[in-house]
Amino acid sequence: MSIIRSVPVFLPLALLTVLAGAVVVGPLVWPIDPYTMDFAAILAPPGPGHWMGTDSVGRDVLARFLAGGRLSLSVGVIVMLGGLVPGAIIGVIAARAGGIVDMVLMRAMDSIAAFPPILLAMAVAIGLGGGLWTAVIGVIISTLPFFARLMRSEVLRIMSHRFVDAAESMGATPAFILLWHVSPHAASTMLVQCAAVFGYAIITLAGLGFVGLGAEVPTAEWGVMITEGMKYALTGQWWLTVFPGLGILVAVSAANLLADGLSATMGGRHA
């Protein structure tokens, strides 16, 4: 894959890989439990024993940062796949069926897209009783229109090419055309969308955790950690909010840069 060697793709990808590696391997080399309270070390500043300090009940911030990162990156992947698979299927069905089916599906997607994504995710989370996983479902639903519309337009665009007419003349079935011709072309476009949604999912779920509709206290999650640390922002315990904030910043920026890099690098190669 020569595309990986281009700088705008390589850099954010490397950043995400390092971050993912750190949160996966981290707990093995940093064996402090993120939920163990140490009342002897409350609100300790970053130092030798606690590299990112401790919080108001003496929990190690680095351990919580790593656990939170694992959670954030995992839900990012879950939302990405959870939106991609049904969204792409809806898009393919709409494009292939056309007519009334197309209209009904696309108007349904429009109705979802009509709500600001974060409000929709909040409404779903509240409606389903709250908590991280209801918020994940809400965010997945809010990403469906992006995937479905994009997939539909990709299928229609690719199917209009002469090489598809040629394939039909050779007796290709619609399934063959989708697999052999459409999916390689659609894959690059969908990949860009996946990278963008990955970043969007992380920041939205952290935001929902921050306002108390996503992950709940005392879960080690970046949004929740910022909420808990807020109280101490004005009294000088900056490490409670800055480290999880940096985690969100790095993960989301890298995902968005990756999306931009992928689309710029692959842009010239579209049919």
Partner: protein, 257 residues
């Protein structure tokens, strides 16, 4: 042998409040493509010639009239019967770049017909591809290139090769050389002639250039606004055109000094 009998096709454009206009693309057109022969369909843009090609390929169905292939009525077949027919009638398009999937190497493009036929053992694919590249005067070394790395003439040859791998009886040549340089046009036309002789192919040649049709076609149908203006063998048509429109076309042909 492919016979089109009294083919009519009307395109309706629906207006926003119902009603709307309709265009008669083809008005009771009857032609037959005899075995090993070349039928030219000549007309300006909008004459219906490409619609006729699409009906001959059964990419679309006519509103009325029948399409017969080897005596069998295939006007309204669908599913497997339609796919079986399509294998025997292969298109070659004007836009050689659009006709080839830009993400695939030449080898992969040429593997597609072999895959879709399903009667050629996988072990033979590579040899078949080498053979067909040789048959169209291209180096087998091109198999690892992408379409964008080839010239227009080379791409058009690949399009022809892909059609030939289906072992068709008829090629529908839709303006096959219009997009090519004049020097390359003759090469591709000569190749098509050689292939016709060696493989007993029949051609439906769609074009707008009478001087090419005179050189390339056995019989010529002149279309204008979906109506048949003239239908005769090439020699008769040029010596004794029946219709005023044909005479106008002939008068517009560049003459050799």
């Amino acid at each position: 042998m492919l016979e089109l009998d009294a083919i009519t096709k009307v395109f309706r454009k629906r207006g926003p409040f119902g009603g709307g206009r309709s265009t008669v693309a083809l008005d009771r057109i009857s032609v037959r493509i005899g075995d090993g022969r070349t039928l030219g369909v000549i007309g300006e843009s909008g004459s219906g010639k490409s619609t006729l090609a699409r009906i001959a390929l059964r990419m679309i169905a006519p509103d009325s009239g029948t399409v017969r292939f080897g005596g069998r009525d295939i006007t309204r077949v669908s599913g497997k019967a339609l796919r079986d027919f399509r294998r025997k009638v292969q298109p070659v398009f004007q836009d050689s770049a659009g006709a080839l999937d830009p993400r695939m190497t030449i080898a992969r493009i040429l593997r597609e017909p072999l895959m879709l036929r399903g009667d050629v053992p996988r072990a033979e694919w590579s040899k078949r591809i080498t053979d067909i590249l040789t048959a169209i005067d291209l180096s087998p070394a091109l198999r690892d290139r992408y379409p964008r790395q080839l010239s227009g003439g080379q791409r058009q040859r690949i399009g022809i090769a892909r059609a030939l791998l289906m072992e068709p009886e008829i090629l529908i040549l839709d303006e096959p050389v219009s997009a090519l340089d004049v020097s390359v046009q003759a090469n591709v036309l000569n190749l098509l002639r050689d292939l016709q002789r060696d493989r007993g192919l029949s051609y439906l040649f769609i074009g707008h250039d009478l001087s090419i049709a005179e050189y390339f076609c056995d019989d010529i149908l002149v279309l204008h606004n979906g109506v048949q203006k003239d239908f005769a063998d090439a020699e008769t048509l040029f010596r004794d055109p029946k219709d005023d429109y044909t005479r106008t076309l002939l008068a517009a042909m560049p003459r050799q000094l």
